[in-house]
Amino acid sequence: MWLPILGLLLGIGIGSALAIPIPGIYAKYLSVAVLAALDSVFGGLKSIIEDKFDGAVLLTGFFTNALLAALLAFLGDRLGVDLYLAAVFAFGVRLFQNLAIIRREMIANWLQKRRLSVQEAKKNG
């Protein structure tokens, strides 16, 4: 349970320690990539909760989504189309959907557990 949080903190630590310099003009693409990555991560969490988790899907989704989002934003800038906004929109919507699903599943799980424990208590009692 604590492993993802530990990994996140470790990653933040490594990133801060390395302090990789990104030119200002690429910051936009990196931000889209981060958004895509966040979407993938929440998608992964959702799949865990829904018991449909697949490691390969998560990892490939993580990398391809991030890279494609950045590339599309870059391409959009070259073409004069704000694909960047499309990526932000798409990933943002998906992110909130995933979050909503996770929340509902967690509530459902919690309620089920409570019901089971109450039933068990009744059985025992």
Binding site: P4, G11, A27, A37
Partner: protein, 231 residues
């Protein structure tokens, strides 16, 4: 338990990478925000406007201060030149009055001790010297000024200048162009010729440097300058 094992590694990797990406992006965004070339146009316009206003204000300040400085330096220089002029003017007037010692080239007229001279002869010589453009005259170190008296003192039986006895040989010093003064004295039928009639033969010698003493200051008890109507 098996499902936990299954997702543990991929999730760890993704979270690790996500952490790195987030922190890198965070740092980039911080520098991005402080980079002027990537600011919003509106902000840049605002910054420019503010800087421009500031600059205008400072320029006005600078102009005012420069004006002030110029005014001050003008004041000091004009004050200094005024004082200079006054000093020069006062020096000129004092020289003309004869109340300060003066020096310059000129001639010395020495009247031998055994001359049968009268005070009018001295007056003649002095008049001739003034006529020969003398600028300052002294008889036996008595400066000849506007209030100088040359007179015969009947009681002491001596010639007095400014009330002081004249001892012989008497010397009359005159500052001016030595040639002009000398030729003025030696004019045909001039003062030396007149004196020669009475067997008085004054010695006239030219000098490049004569020192004339100062006369005492004038005493004004009744006289008052007439105010200039133009001023």
């Amino acid at each position: 338990m098996d499902s936990v094992k299954k997702w543990r590694i991929p999730v760890l990797i993704t979270f690790l990478l996500l952490g790195i990406m987030i922190s890198v992006q965070f740092h980039t965004q911080q520098t991005f925000l402080s980079d002027l070339s990537l600011q919003k146009t509106d902000d840049l316009v605002l910054i420019l406007q503010r800087l421009h206003d500031n600059r205008t204000k400072l320029e006005v300040d600078l102009y005012n201060l420069e004006q002030q400085q110029q005014a001050l330096s003008n004041d000091t220089s004009s004050g200094a030149s005024l004082a200079d002029n006054l000093k020069k003017e006062s020096g000129k007037l004092q020289t003309a009055l004869g109340v300060i010692p003066v020096q310059g080239p000129g001639v010395t007229v020495t009247i031998p001790a055994d001359s049968p001279i009268v005070y009018l002869d001295l007056v003649d010589i002095v008049n001739e010297l003034w006529a020969s453009q003398a600028e300052a005259i002294a008889i036996n170190d008595q400066r000849v000024t506007g209030w100088t008296t040359v007179f015969w003192d009947k009681q002491k039986m001596t010639i007095t200048v400014n009330g002081k006895d004249i001892s012989f040989p008497c010397t009359i010093k005159a500052v001016g162009n030595p040639d002009t003064l000398d030729s003025g004295l030696r004019l045909l039928g001039g003062v030396l010729d007149s004196l020669a009639v009475f067997k008085i033969y004054p010695l006239v010698s030219r000098s490049t440097e004569l020192d004339l003493p100062a006369a005492g200051p004038p005493v004004f008890r009744y006289v008052q300058p007439v105010p200039n109507p133009q001023q």
